[in-house]
């Protein structure tokens, strides 16, 4: 039998066997892996490790007690297997080309000496963070909740670079790509496009992260920083900026990183919503960093739960905590607002009077009044993007 026929037959057979597999799609709490690798990557402490090539590392839950995620705990996600492992800084250039009056070839020295230096503290989060929450399983890394972090990024404004190059009057789009490449040259390169009129003052080309050079795995020597947006456009090892007139159809723009363009941003496996839109803006989310399921909590002990909350830049107004599985909620104490785009720390002191398992939950509310939904209220999408359910941690009180 020809193998194509084999698949046709087996699919028909399976449909006959199972009837129509009506999988509505749902969500649950994402996995909460505490499995830390024994292997450390350069400039990183051992993290939750999904792949070595390309490197994919998740930050463990207990890192999310502070507004700034340390560089050595910051998550890592590359797409292409070929990442230059040797960066000769003196020769490193970012090429600015296309519909500009003057092509630029920028070295790190140019960035540091010829432009105004700016800093912004902002959250970097993968659009697929918490993907393991979606059932049925969607294709892609089955992240727990640690594909995110918050850092103070230092660099120069993207606008200032474009101003120096001089945009042509018919310039409408900008393509960004890095020095990493796919295994096969016909495979799509990770190129992202931004609309010129959407470029704001806080988008920067950054070379520093929390006061240090960017770690190699976070995009050394320079990466794009786009506060409020998911990480898909935060191009690492930025090496090329091309200004164009027309939007270019690209795999990583038109197929990947898209969600259903309907109000619930939802669909089912058997009935995918045809019209899609880019994931772009982050929604409101919080995470409990302490306690974790590993913590030992004694009856009647004073406990201070800690965690972080953020949104796309409207700012966090309140974080509500429940220490009885969602029956009652109280406001946590919020830490300083480092920036509207930063993690906002929260703390909540409590005592538990009884032994046994107890679920602690956190729900963030922003200045627009938007709040995190219960996990079960979040509907499925084919890419497993944008999960932001109320966080919960179950501990055993002893």
């Amino acid at each position: 039998m020809h193998r194509r026929d084999f698949f046709k037959t087996s699919l028909v057979a399976s449909a006959a066997l199972l009837g129509t597999a009506a999988s509505a799609g749902t969500t649950k709490q994402p996995i909460d892996s505490q499995v830390i690798s024994t292997v450390a990557f350069p400039e990183k402490r051992p993290l939750i490790t999904y792949s070595d090539r390309p490197p994919i590392l998740e930050t463990p839950r207990d890192a999310f007690t502070t507004a700034i995620t340390p560089n050595n705990e910051f998550f890592v996600r590359w797409h292409s297997p070929k990442i230059p492992t040797h960066t000769y800084l003196k020769g490193y250039r970012i090429s600015v080309n296309g519909l500009v009056e003057k092509n630029l070839s920028l070295s790190l020295d140019h960035l540091k000496k010829d432009y105004e230096q700016v800093e912004i503290t902002a959250v970097l989060q993968c659009g697929g963070n918490s993907r393991s929450a979606f059932i049925p399983t969607t294709s892609g890394i089955q992240w727990g909740s640690g594909a995110m972090g918050c850092a103070t990024w230092k660099g120069v404004r993207l606008k200032d670079i474009l101003k120096r190059a001089g945009l042509s009057s018919d310039a409408h789009w900008i393509n960004f790509s890095g020095a990493d490449t796919p295994a096969f040259h016909k495979a799509p390169k990770l190129i992202r496009e931004l609309k010129i009129n959407e470029i704001s003052d806080d988008m920067i080309v950054a070379y520093e992260m929390n006061g240090e050079d960017l770690p190699f795995l976070n995009g050394y020597p320079v990466r794009l920083v786009i506060p409020g947006d998911y990480s898909d456009s935060w191009i690492k090892m930025l090496s090329n900026i091309t200004v164009t007139k027309e939007y270019k159809s690209l795999y990583y723009m038109d197929t990947a990183y898209r969600i259903p363009d309907n109000e619930c941003e939802c669909e089912t496996e058997d009935d995918l919503f045809e019209k899609t839109k880019p994931i772009t803006t982050m929604n409101i989310k919080s995470l409990i960093g302490y306690p974790t399921s590993n913590s030992i909590i004694n009856v009647d002990a004073n406990v201070v739960a800690r965690g972080v909350a953020f949104d796309s830049g409207h700012g966090i107004k309140d974080v509500l905590i429940s220490v009885n599985g969602g029956r009652t909620w109280e406001s946590a104490t919020l830490g300083d607002e480092l920036s509207l785009h930063a993690f906002r720390e929260f703390r909540f002191a409590f005592r538990l009077k009884e032994k046994g398992p107890i679920t602690i939950m956190a729900k963030a509310i922003n200045n627009l009044g938007e709040e995190q939904p219960y996990p079960e209220a979040i509907k499925w999408n084919h890419g497993g993007y944008k999960y932001n359910g109320i966080d919960s941690v179950t501990i055993d009180v002893v």
Binding site: L11, S14, L18, S37, F41, S51, D52, R53, H86, Y88
Partner: protein, 103 residues
């Protein structure tokens, strides 16, 4: 005492930050896979682009899920997967990482 500890740690960190004039050595992790008669098809097709970690991380899935993934690797990422290997790789994935459902 603390100062004594911090200084070597900082030196270690800063040596990593020097221009990367030395190649950055990324560690290799071995993701255990069953070596049966179809494993060679896995070896010759999957590792061009990614580690086996991708497969393990995806969890147990249906035959349709794995077949779609194999086809995506060829059509999107241009892995040179022959029609024969398409079946061998799908069989392998479904055998060891299958959820016993065809779709």
């Amino acid at each position: 005492m603390i100062k004594k500890l911090i200084l070597p740690a900082m030196l270690m960190l800063s040596s990593l930050h020097a221009d990367y004039n030395q190649k950055v050595k990324l560690p290799t992790i071995s993701f255990p896979m069953v070596a049966d008669e179809n494993f060679r098809a896995m070896q010759r097709n999957c590792q061009w682009c990614h580690s086996y970690g991708y497969i393990i991380n995806q969890g147990k899935q249906s035959r349709k899920f794995w077949h779609k993934s194999v086809v995506k690797m060829r059509e999107v990422y241009k892995a040179p997967i022959t029609e024969e290997d398409e079946k061998l790789v799908t069989d392998y994935l479904f055998k060891y990482y299958g959820n016993s459902k065809l779709k």
